[in-house]
């Protein structure tokens, strides 16, 4: 909590993240590189799916990160509404684009995987539909942010919408258990342990760690940009206000 409150200061945040970012970037590159090597040269083909199973190593981390990004947004929204944390709003706003990107990757790779295995690109079963709803939630939250100016009120509205959308996350996770779906049940995060052979589980986990490091790095960079963008906007306003005496006449009278 102490580290959290010192991060509340944007200047401290900028300084800290500048030091952390190269390490996160390197971790992401190393883990993803190692993961891809394991996926293509080490991990075995599946007994049923053959080589097609390799789509899993992109699809599953993307799906996890799509939901993780929403959980980050939900925590940030609580930070906006309850603690009025000055950086929570920037974190909430910037995670939406990343979450949408990961959800899109998940939907596209899932579709490409579904055609050869199931025989269809898309079905309206509970898992696929709830994931599509998550994508639409992200797009809606991005659009909501585009229509509102930077204001405490806009931040609160976006935070409330984010919290409302959170109900979709448990629905995505448990859709395969609650209803009959074409999508198979969970293989890794399930009671009774993973049902993936170790030779396939390790590359998957390494790919997932690489994707998580990538998300964190991109998210921190996006928050930094948001802080700087707001600073520029504030300075521009101040400069405009200060220059009013001298420059107002020029601004008001159109050049002939």
């Amino acid at each position: 909590m102490i580290a959290f409150s010192s991060l509340a200061n944007p200047a401290v945040f900028l300084r800290l993240t500048q030091r952390v970012l190269p390490w996160l970037g390197a971790a992401s590159a190393l883990l993803s590189g190692l993961g891809l090597y394991l996926v293509f040269f080490v991990s075995p083909a599946d007994y049923q799916q053959g080589e097609t199973v390799k789509i899993m190593y992109i699809h599953v981390p993307a799906a996890w990160l799509a939901m993780f990004a929403y959980m980050v947004m939900t925590s940030a929204s609580l930070g906006v509404l309850v603690w009025r944390h000055p950086l929570a709003d920037a974190a909430q706003k910037t995670a939406a684009t990343l979450g949408a990107a990961f959800t899109f990757i998940c939907l596209v790779t899932g579709s490409l995987w579904g055609k050869p295995m199931w025989g269809t690109y898309w079905v309206w079963d509970a898992r696929l539909t709830s994931m599509l709803i998550l994508f639409l939630l992200y797009l809606g939250l991005i659009a909501l942010r585009q229509t509102m100016e930077d204001s405490p009120r806009g931040a609160r509205i976006a935070a409330i919408m984010t919290l409302v959308g959170f109900v979709d996350i448990p629905i995505i996770k448990f859709s395969v258990d609650w209803w009959n779906t074409l999508h198979q049940p969970a293989s890794v995060l399930r009671a009774g342990g993973p049902t993936i052979a170790a030779a396939m589980l390790w590359p998957l986990l390494i790919m997932a760690l690489g994707a998580t490091a990538l998300f964190l790095a991109l998210h921190l960079m996006a928050i930094r940009n948001e802080i700087l963008r707001r600073r520029v906007a504030r300075l521009t306003l101040q400069a405009a206000a200060a220059g009013e005496e001298g420059g107002a006449a020029e601004l008001l009278e159109p050049a002939q």
């Binding site: 199931w118 079905v123 919290l163 409302v164 109900v167 198979q184 049940p185 396939m200």
Partner: protein, 148 residues
């Protein structure tokens, strides 16, 4: 209670109400959210002939009969009830006896199911072929895909 505590309590309360509301809606719609019925559920429901539905289950071992011109007949089972299915068209690669499938089509008056599409369903287990083979050899194999 502090201001922060009050805000947190208000948000938690609102979210709890929302979760209950969504839960009730999903519970009420459970019949429409399921992607398919099992043959046993179909037998209980007494569906009128000609209704479009999706039935999911395993392809019964030894039931697949391939006719000419891509015609195929097989039985979908959930180990409780059976449903005979006819289909004309290409089958997915994973289609085989013992495999999970979801068939989409209409129930005829004779109780046979005419499928317009056949989707393959696989379970949550992933393993190399050698592991699957050795499990089968040891006789500890469970579930679908028992026959290739």
């Amino acid at each position: 209670m502090t201001r922060k505590g009050k805000r947190l309590a208000l948000i938690s309360g609102a979210l709890a109400v929302l979760a209950i509301a969504v839960g009730l809606v999903l519970f009420a719609l459970r019949d429409n959210i399921v992607f398919f019925y099992s043959p046993a559920e179909l037998a209980q429901k007494r569906v009128a002939p000609g209704t479009r539905l999706r039935i999911g289950g395993l392809v019964k071992e030894g039931s697949v009969q391939r006719g000419d011109d891509r015609n195929v007949a097989f039985t979908v089972t959930d180990r409780t009830a059976d449903l005979s299915v006819t289909y004309k068209g290409l089958l997915p690669d994973l289609f085989r006896e013992g495999q999970g499938v979801v068939v989409d089509g209409t129930l005829g008056a004779d109780g046979a199911f005419r499928a317009d599409s056949v989707l393959a369903k696989h379970d949550e287990r992933y393993m190399p072929r050698e592991v699957a083979d050795s499990l089968k050899k040891q006789g500890v194999w469970q579930g679908e895909g028992t026959k290739k």
